[in-house]
């Protein structure tokens, strides 16, 4: 019974997982990223357009990632160089991405999916599904066990620590935001490759859900991905819909849980100390 839900859970959790991982990099570096939604959307758009033009899904993935990179570059330039309000910029990028993709909406021509890898007992999934756990573990080690990651975290935690090592906060913040854009765009590419089309506003709030997963997972990759799996499972339950529970309740469960965790009723979610602070 539960096993039947695993494929859907994985398919739902993977795009969230990539975006959430992106969100972790950005927020660990101290930049609030509400633009995950827009970055995913533009990634999905890039995948479909790139694949349609070149005929290769690999090129599509690359185009999607570069679109996400450009989106992130815009966020980074605005928030880090021009010190714009991070929350407003993030929402503006979401509006921008929604607008551009509607304006230039690609022809409704079906595109191929990303290559699938088949394993005994597990089944056939897009290779991104297998890549995600590896990336999560690598990110965990990178962020918390290497000097590189500690410096990135210092950009969001303690600006003084960076300053004593005479390191530039700007550089690390740029790195975090740009990484987040590329990763969120990969999430969008996965989404588009699963449904084979691009439709207006197809991410439908998944970027915000990924953000919820970041908070739910206390800004840590391993817990973040667990949160994504939990949220994906809730969606799978909702789609299977064999119970008398209203689907809307399952639908809103991730958001309610995130609020509960953020308030500290169950466990405690603590953001990086200098998150969103413009001057440190």
């Amino acid at each position: 019974m539960i096993f039947e839900l695993i494929p859907t859970t994985l398919r739902m959790a993977t795009p969230l997982g990539f975006a959430a991982l992106g969100g972790i990099y950005s927020e660990r570096a101290g930049v609030i990223n509400l633009a995950l939604e827009g970055m995913m959307l533009i990634g999905a758009f890039g995948y479909v357009v790139g694949t349609q033009v070149s005929g290769s899904t690999w090129i599509g993935l690359l185009v999607g990632m570069s679109f996400g990179f450009l989106c992130a570059l815009l966020h980074a330039v605005a928030t880090i160089t021009f010190r714009a309000e991070q929350i407003v910029t993030g929402i503006a990028i979401n509006i921008l991405a929604l607008g551009i993709t509607e304006f230039l909406v690609p022809t409704p021509e079906q595109v191929g999916g990303l290559p699938q890898w088949k394993f005994p007992f597990i089944g056939a999934y897009s290779f991104l599904v297998y890549l995600l756990p590896i990336l999560v573990i690598v990110s965990h080690i990178l962020l918390f066990k290497t000097p590189w990651g500690l410096r990135l975290c210092a950009a969001g935690e303690s600006v003084e620590a960076l300053a004593t090592m005479s390191l530039s906060r700007t550089k690390w913040q740029y790195l975090g935001v740009l990484l987040s854009g590329v990763l969120a765009a990969v999430g969008g590419c996965f989404l588009a490759s699963e449904v084979h089309y691009f439709t207006k506003g197809m991410t439908a709030g998944r970027g915000y859900l990924a953000l919820a997963a970041v908070i739910f997972g206390n800004w840590r990759p391993l817990s973040g991905i667990s949160a994504c799996c939990l949220f994906g499972f809730a969606t799978a339950l909702e789609l299977a819909n064999r119970w008398e529970v209203p689907v809307q309740l399952l639908n809103s469960l991730p958001y309610i849980l995130t609020m509960v965790v953020l308030a500290g009723f169950v466990g405690r979610s603590r953001p990086p100390a200098s998150l969103g602070k413009i001057d440190g």
């Binding site: 928030t79 407003v88 910029t89 921008l96």
Partner: protein
């Protein structure tokens, strides 16, 4: 002679003030808007469509008749409310990203009263408005309380509350209060007594088909009230002080927790009024997903209006105009509305960047 002298001295003394007002309040939005139209023109030139035709249609679509301008004001109505809601919260240093959810909750509360109570209009309309205010305020106060009591960031919580509101509204309107015999997720119509009259019925210069209604005047009144509240009352002062100098506010005996809760409630209440405008003024029922992102556009409106209630009025009319133009352009030139949405995004980013740069200079 005397008057001339007085006038001259008045102007002389005010020159730096006027200049300051112009540089800080008018110049950035004007620059942003011209940039927006320039950008649209460039995009059209690239697509080999005539930018000149585009510019002329903008004027024709918005100002060619009173009817057209009525539509502009009609589009502006919900944006005035959401813009004010965002600005109230922003003035106290809080971000209310949850206007979208609050306006749905408010709209549903108003519709619920309007469907269930068969009372004369002078009782029913205030009851509908009151219920929307309470519902919106409650939806806003929850993130406010979580921020004040547990330190949970209000941005995240308002976003989460949005999605909870969407789900709740969807449930109510598809499972409990759906109009019988209808496939559309909407409630039955509210009683006629609760329906706000169209301005066309009061001022016959507008054609009867024009949807502009009393809620627009109500929105203007709300902006004036907000201005008076923020500028001249004790609470408004506390709110602004908390936003400008939280340390001073705490030293002055203002309890930041209490203020946070009521500011978010007030902001939610004003956002709820946007829902009232739609339900009592136009649709006469609650329809699922009726808002096209007004809560988020409210952020842009507040930003363009520099968080000043009168500035917000102007900005909301401008956005109302953009929405109207976008619709006409889509029909006449076959340019998708997304162009205007994208332009809105660029405009917001441009404005916050300018704000950020000026903050660094100071």
């Amino acid at each position: 002679m005397n008057i001339q002298k007085a006038l001259a001295s008045l102007l002389r003394d005010r020159t730096p003030q006027i200049k300051n007002l112009f540089v800080n309040y008018c110049l950035p939005p004007l620059l942003a808007l011209s940039g927006f139209f320039l950008l649209c023109g460039i995009v059209l030139q690239i697509r080999r469509q005539s930018p000149l035709e585009f510019y002329s249609i903008i004027f024709v679509s918005a100002f060619s008749s009173l009817d057209d301008f009525g539509y502009v004001l009609f589009n502006a109505t919900p944006l005035i409310f959401t813009g004010l809601a965002v600005a109230i919260a922003y003035k106290s240093g809080l971000f209310n990203i949850g206007c979208e959810g609050q306006l749905y909750v408010g709209a549903f509360a108003a519709a619920w009263i309007g469907i269930h109570l068969n009372l004369p209009g002078f009782l029913l309309i205030p009851l509908c408005i009151g219920s929307a205010v309470i519902a919106g305020a409650a939806w806003g106060a929850i993130p406010g309380f979580l921020k004040a009591r547990y330190g949970a960031h209000e941005v995240i919580n308002t976003i989460m509350m949005n999605f909870v509101a969407f789900a709740l509204m969807n449930y109510l309107v598809t499972s409990v209060y759906q109009e019988p015999g209808q496939m559309i997720p909407q409630t039955p119509q509210i009683y006629e007594a609760a329906q706000l009259p169209r301005l066309a019925s009061l001022f016959p210069i507008l054609p009867p088909s024009n949807p502009l209604n009393l809620s627009f005047l109500f929105a203007c009144g709300c902006a004036i009230c907000c201005y008076i509240f923020l500028t001249y009352t004790r609470w408004g002062y506390e709110l602004r002080l908390l936003g400008n100098a939280p340390d001073v506010a705490a030293y002055g005996g203002i309890n930041p927790q209490t203020v946070t809760i009521w500011v978010m409630a007030l902001s939610g209440a004003v956002a709820g009024l946007a829902g009232v405008a739609e339900v009592l003024g136009y649709r006469y029922r609650f329809l699922d997903n009726f808002s096209s992102g007004w809560g988020f556009t409210g952020i842009a409106v507040a930003l363009l209006g520099r968080n000043n209630p009168f500035g917000i009025l102007v900005a909301a009319v401008l956005f109302g105009l953009l929405n109207k133009v976008a619709l006409d352009i889509e029909i006449l030139l076959e340019i998708r509305r997304g162009l205007f949405l994208a332009g809105q995004g660029v405009l917001i980013i441009w404005l916050v960047c300018m704000e950020g740069v000026s903050r660094r200079k100071n």
